[in-house]
């Protein structure tokens, strides 16, 4: 199937990821509306609400992009549509950064001007209870299912090699931190510490900025053809080296430089190859291309370009291990 790695379980995992995206949307609707009800004058809850509202973007982008990216390449977009998603993520991450920065300033201003948050009573079944007490179970509902959803998403992100899904999963998993901060803020207010609320709001806004930054780096790396990283983005992916190694094993190859780029969930590679002899057989080149494609299930396309000498720019991309 187009757009997903060649792995036997990929199709099943894609179905699962789609289901999780729908589940996330339904869940976020519940958290956003519950938070809206109990928000009162709390800065921490307002910040948490906006964070959850922004969390709609990744699952929606996932579902939209999933249809869009599988469109076949055409004359206008000869490489297919996978990159459109990365562009979407660049946009959404900038929105995340902007809202995070706004909330940081908003919360900090409230701390500086010593604004006391008003959290009053909430009519419930003929009683009036303090809205702050109601906010605590709501915040627990924001934290625990999000964590479980995040874990489930992370498990599907791996076989699908979906970096954006992995980033979203990490954010969901970390959401208990901001919900926890908001709970501390509310408990602080209950004990008459007015500043606890804005302080919690500031912490949550920093969390939003952090997720925005992670998402921005992921998406920007993709659109700027950064060499692939592992799914957690901590290390370089070894796929380029593995392709180069396989090529060097071929009897007709004297030297090679491999450049790999990510295209959504898949990889495409270009190999500039200097043959040992002046003439090479077309069959040999095609056979090698097919062979190399099997190095990694994520490889959708490998282009082999036989050259007399390596072009200058290409030679610069040589991995230090090869030198």
């Amino acid at each position: 199937m187009r757009g997903i790695p060649e792995r036997p379980d990929a199709r099943k995992q894609l179905k699962k990821a789609q289901l999780l995206a729908w589940l996330s949307i339904a869940y976020l609707m519940s958290t956003v509306s519950l938070l809206f009800m109990v928000m009162g004058g709390s800065q921490a809850l307002k910040t948490e609400l906006l964070e959850d509202a922004l969390s709609f973007v990744p699952p929606v982008l996932f579902l939209v992009s999933d249809r869009f990216t599988r469109k076949e390449p055409d004359r206008k977009y000869p490489f297919g549509y996978e990159r459109a998603v990365s562009a979407g993520y660049v946009g959404s991450s900038i929105a995340l950064l902007a809202v995070g920065a706004f909330l940081l300033i908003d919360g900090a201003m409230k701390l500086v001007t010593a604004e006391h948050p008003t959290i009053g009573g909430f009519p419930l079944f003929g009683h009036v209870v303090w809205t702050g007490w109601l906010a605590i179970p709501v915040l627990l509902w924001c934290a625990i299912p999000a964590h479980l959803l995040g874990r489930a998403k992370r498990k599907t992100a791996e076989p699908l090699n979906d970096k954006n899904l992995a980033a979203d999963a990490a954010m969901n998993e970390a959401n208990w931190q901001s919900a926890g901060a908001a709970i501390l803020g509310i408990v602080g207010v209950a004990f008459g510490l007015w500043w606890a609320d804005s302080a919690a709001g500031v912490l949550i806004s920093l969390e939003i900025i952090r997720s925005g930054w992670t998402e921005f780096r992921t998406a920007l790396g993709d659109v700027t053809d950064r060499s692939p990283l592992t799914l957690d983005e901590k290390e370089d992916d070894s796929v380029g080296e593995r392709i180069a190694e396989r090529l060097r094993e071929q009897p007709w190859v004297a030297d090679v430089v491999v450049r790999v780029r990510e295209r959504g969930r898949e990889l495409t590679a270009e190999a500039h190859v200097v043959p040992k002899e002046d003439s090479i057989s077309v069959d040999e080149v095609s056979r090698t291309g097919e062979l190399v494609c099997k190095v990694d299930p994520r490889l959708a396309e490998v282009t082999i370009a036989p050259v007399r000498t390596l072009p200058e720019d290409v030679a610069k991309a040589r991995q230090p291990e090869d030198a």
């Binding site: 948050p117 009053g120 079944f125 209870v129 209950a190």
Partner: protein, 154 residues
């Protein structure tokens, strides 16, 4: 009964005296028995033309004051003046036909509605910001009043 236990639990927590007022309004009321109320003229809700304020809201404020064992100390002034005084905790309450959409929300706290007019406006009191225990006491009183007046009408 099952539906009731969270409410019971919450009332128990509330019974421990939480939330507290950062500026100690409830404590002050318990010792001085003075409820500081600002009003601005807005008939029929408030009428400050005579020496003793009258109208729907002053009557309600007096009932509330009686409930918490305090007497009302009135201050007359413009909306701006009252909102400033609330912000600086020089008043506990302000009345004058405010509804829930009031722009003073940035400076003062807003109570639960005590009346709904046919044009769907929810009428509220303004409070000193963040005095959550006091506001909870007021909200409890006003919600009760709203329920009773709705019951009387239907």
């Amino acid at each position: 009964m099952l539906r009731c236990w969270p409410v019971l639990l919450l009332s128990m927590v509330a019974g421990c005296g939480l939330p507290l007022d950062p500026e100690g309004t409830s404590k002050r009321l318990a010792s001085t028995h003075e409820l500081r109320v600002g009003l601005t003229d807005n008939q029929p809700w408030t009428d400050s033309t005579r020496s003793e304020p009258s109208g729907i809201e002053p009557a309600l404020v007096r009932t509330f004051a009686a409930r918490i064992g305090a007497k009302v100390v009135w201050t007359k002034g413009s909306e701006t003046l009252l909102a400033q005084a609330l912000k600086h905790h020089e008043l506990d309450l302000a009345i004058g036909g405010f509804d829930a959409q009031t722009p003073w929300v940035s400076m003062a706290g807003i109570s639960q509605p005590f009346a709904e007019t046919p044009d769907k406006k929810k009428h509220v009191f303004l409070t000193a910001p963040g005095e959550n225990q006091f506001i909870l006491t007021l909200d409890t009183f006003l919600t009760e009043h709203l329920r009773k007046s709705k019951g009387a009408r239907s």
